[in-house]
Symmetry: C2
Subunit: 538 residues, 2 copies
């Protein structure tokens, strides 16, 4: 079975599109108190100015490729004077300015130092076309000449990046007139984020965690309404299936090489997402054959999840699983998990019905009802009019969002719930775009598109205002240097789960949301722009 799944995964591997990306500007970092991780990039002229002069040991420059890209870099290294020694270069690639403006070492992050993208390159003979074999995710490239000889200086030329992605931009339907400019720009950043994560799997981030994670649930629908690269999603679903454990549980992440294999991590909430993703894939692609093939596996996840319900029908943390939900360390997750399982079970009911498995569909319905009832009875705080989690009755966006996504409450009641928690200053807010995405989904479900657009503008727009040209793994507007790994430089600044806005914007287009509205009357806006925000240095 696993071997057959693996073959299907291999057969569905998409081709990579290559295009050449050129550096646009030479820039220089200037230290600033936030808003951009403490650095502003001052414009030093067109990128070619770097090639118009010679460089000596100890000197350095930074090239700005304008926007985030993923690919393979090449450049000429020449000598002025007779090159009588090799040349040693230090290259640093940065998704954001801080990575090329701050020293990587000494490094104290908990993630491997090897994720930070820098190289020492020694070139024995000049002139030479330097073509680095590794792939980098970056907007900025800093080069320091790390050796010197009295006999010559070096000259650089013809920088280019062979950018790669399995996303074909030609497949994307352009946004129609009427979509506000700021959301248009946000759509572009969303698409870039997704494309830069799309390779032979959805890589969680092309810089860090260059592998498939089951956040697939977030990015696959965006793909399906934009690049429509269905083979990639199919491949990913089959990779999870082929690497599932002996007990039939899908891993949280999958490595592709040397041969596909599961990572160490199994994450409880992620197992519930498998059915949701499978259903969404089948509905948008029409490929019900894959849904049928993987349905027993989706079922197996939910069987396992049900074993963690207590006699009342409430999720009880078994204590031996990683439950993710969000990176926020204070978050209590049991109420959210109730919603996570409910959403998975309800997707399973739809799958069962579509796949003509009425017995399984019927068997789930009473469990779903019990779980919803238990949630309303035991998790709702009448006094505060919100769902709470844990013995401290913690209030968080995560709990309310998952109660809505799990359809414990619906319609006006759900809308009221979300309005209430979002107005509570002490409610624990999300820190990662993944949970913000789910918040948007919940707002959408109860007709709060206006609030959703505000959230797009404040949260994703906030990243753009801070210089993002792709959306980040982590963004907490109040803690700009926040990292779950003890070092903001090792955060990923192009992360699949950040790509959501394109889906919501396009859903509004589909529903003619802007028809009749003046395109110039924005319902709010965000500071800054997605354009390279640089100014001439004095």
């Amino acid at each position: 079975m696993r071997e057959r799944w693996l073959k299907i995964a291999e057969a569905s591997k998409p081709q990579l599109y290559r295009r050449v990306t050129l550096p646009l500007r030479a820039v220089e970092g200037a230290s600033r108190p936030d808003p951009r991780q403490n650095w502003e990039m001052l414009d030093k002229g067109p990128a070619r100015t770097v090639c118009d002069r010679t460089w000596r040991g100890g000197e350095s420059f930074i090239l700005d490729f304008g926007v985030h890209t993923v690919g393979y870099i090449e450049f000429d290294l020449l000598s002025e004077g007779i090159a009588d020694a090799p040349v040693r270069l230090h290259l640093v690639f940065g998704e954001i300015a801080a990575e090329v403006c701050e020293a990587f070492d000494p490094y104290s992050g908990q993630m491997s130092r090897a994720w930070l993208q820098d190289e020492i390159v020694t070139v024995d003979v000049l002139p030479h076309r330097v073509a680095l074999p590794r792939r980098y995710a970056f907007r900025y490239l800093k080069i320091t000449v790390a050796s010197d000889s009295a006999a010559f200086s070096v000259r650089f030329g013809d920088f280019l990046c062979h950018s790669v992605s399995s996303a074909n931009p030609a497949s994307v339907e352009p946004l129609p007139a009427g979509v506000p400019e700021d959301l248009r720009a946000m759509d572009e950043v969303s698409l870039r984020t997704l494309a830069n994560c799309m390779h032979t799997v959805f890589e969680d981030g092309p810089k860090r965690d260059r592998r498939l994670w089951i956040d697939l649930a977030i990015c696959a629908p965006v793909n399906h309404t934009t690049f429509r690269q269905f083979d990639l999603t199919k491949r990913c679903l089959y990779l999870f299936a082929a690497t599932s454990s002996q007990e039939g549980i899908v891993p949280a992440c999958v490595f592709e090489v040397p041969q596909p294999h599961a990572g160490n991590d199994f994450i409880l909430d992620y197992t519930a997402h498998f059915a949701v993703t499978l259903l969404e894939y089948a509905e948008t692609s029409g490929d019900w054959q894959t849904a049928n093939d993987l349905w027993p596996l989706a079922w197996r996840q939910l069987e396992m999840l049900q074993s963690h319900l207590d006699e009342r029908g409430l999720f009880a943390d078994p204590g031996n699983w990683w439950i993710f939900v969000d990176w926020e360390p204070r978050l209590h997750k049991e109420t959210a998990m109730q919603g996570v399982i409910l959403r998975g079970l309800q997707a399973a009911v739809t799958l069962a019905e579509k796949l003509h498995d009425p017995d399984r569909a019927a068997s789930l319905k009473p469990i779903i009802e019990t779980m919803k009832k238990a949630a309303r009875e035991f998790l709702f705080c009448r006094e505060k009019q919100v769902f709470v989690s844990g013995p401290d009755r913690q209030i968080s966006w995560a709990s309310e969002v998952w109660m809505v996504l799990g359809r414990v409450v619906e319609g006006k009641q759900a809308a009221q719930l979300l309005r209430t928690v979002m107005a509570m200053p002490d409610a624990i807010k999300p820190v990662n775009p993944g949970l913000y995405h789910l918040t948007l989904e919940a707002l959408w479900m109860c007709g709060l598109e206006k609030e959703g657009i505000e959230l797009l503008r404040s949260y994703w727009g906030g990243m753009i205002a801070r210089g993002a040209t792709t959306f980040w793994e982590i963004h907490d507007p109040e803690r700009p240097l926040l990292s779950p790994y003890g070092n903001h430089l090792v955060n990923s600044y192009c992360h699949t789960w950040g790509c959501s806005p394109a889906w919501f914007i396009r859903d509004l287009v589909r529903r003619d949301y802007w028809k009749g509205k003046s395109p110039h009357k924005l319902e709010g806006s965000f500071e800054g722009s997605h354009e390279i925000n640089t100014r001439k240095s004095s």
Copy 2:
């Protein structure tokens, strides 16, 4: 003309022999006051012990390949546990222990930092066969694991080096019985030094100054009596010819790639060596066609040199040339230069006679006589019974050696001169093996083989006693960390001009020097041995 010469040079390019070299031991550096540049290598067991265990971030090991080698390194990098991140390695290659035991940075040498052999290698996916594209000259390889992940440790396997040289060891006649053991060992180190410098040119050093220098005059004769790779010498002679200046002067060094071109340096004494090398090559190879072809060029060098003689026939420093002779900064070089030119002119006379150019031969003879007479009249100090140089009447080995090589004095008189200067504690001694080689040549010329053997044992044997498995660019027994470049780590520890002993030892064999002498009765010995001098660490 130059194009034709270039074609001949290309046609004479020798093939490179490849062989696999394996690491022998794992070692660890222990700080010691000299005699080995302050480091002793403690034995930590067979090299495979490094592969028998796993390694974490921050840990390091040193492999000892037993002897100096030049080539391309390969090894396996594996993971124990699931490799969830790239692995960053820091590799340092050392010709001597100090290079892997001392930090390269901060670097303060005058030569380019890029000559020091270290690399940062990041491996994205494990397992991986790491095969570094650059060539290294080394005995020791230190690897530090420079990144860490909680999920896995790394394992190394199957280290090997593809060693390369254009010297074919099978061409070397083995030394007969009767040659003392220590000189046999010294011969082996000589041959290794030469072979490790022999590639598609005689590289000055395979680590630093990886290019042809006109020290060719020293290493070519050793090649001709051992590996007999005549094509290589021919190629080098033609490369000098093809890259000579518009004025017809041969450069001091030649770069092979991207196309052969001269270095910046022209060294006055080196121009005189061209005729000497050409003659020696023709005599040993029998290739008088090449001699005939390049004779006008050799002649041009000597014409130019004669223009620097004053009316008395004495060399006068024109001030605008680099005159090398030795790295010793205190050395006054005019007297030595008198001998340098005389040797060149006398080689030219022989060349002219062999090549049937009697007019030129005849024209040189009176000049040679004048120069010799002037030397005896103006450069000899009757009181001290030695030649002196400069207004301070400096006494040096260099001056006396060159007076002998230039045949200003001969026979017993010459022997007396050399004995006298070598017994003078204040006479300026050589610091580089090149000048020691010339000293040996001078001793040989006046029958002082016994003193020559003593010098072999004290000077070249002194390097072996300090751990050398190839002979060094610089060796001053009294100043073990001496460097002309401000940093002993950037010195070359395998340098063509160090390879002389093999020639002298084989010349003694040819002359039956050891016939009848007991092989066990050494005429002196040197401390230590060429074997890996390690001991078990406590």
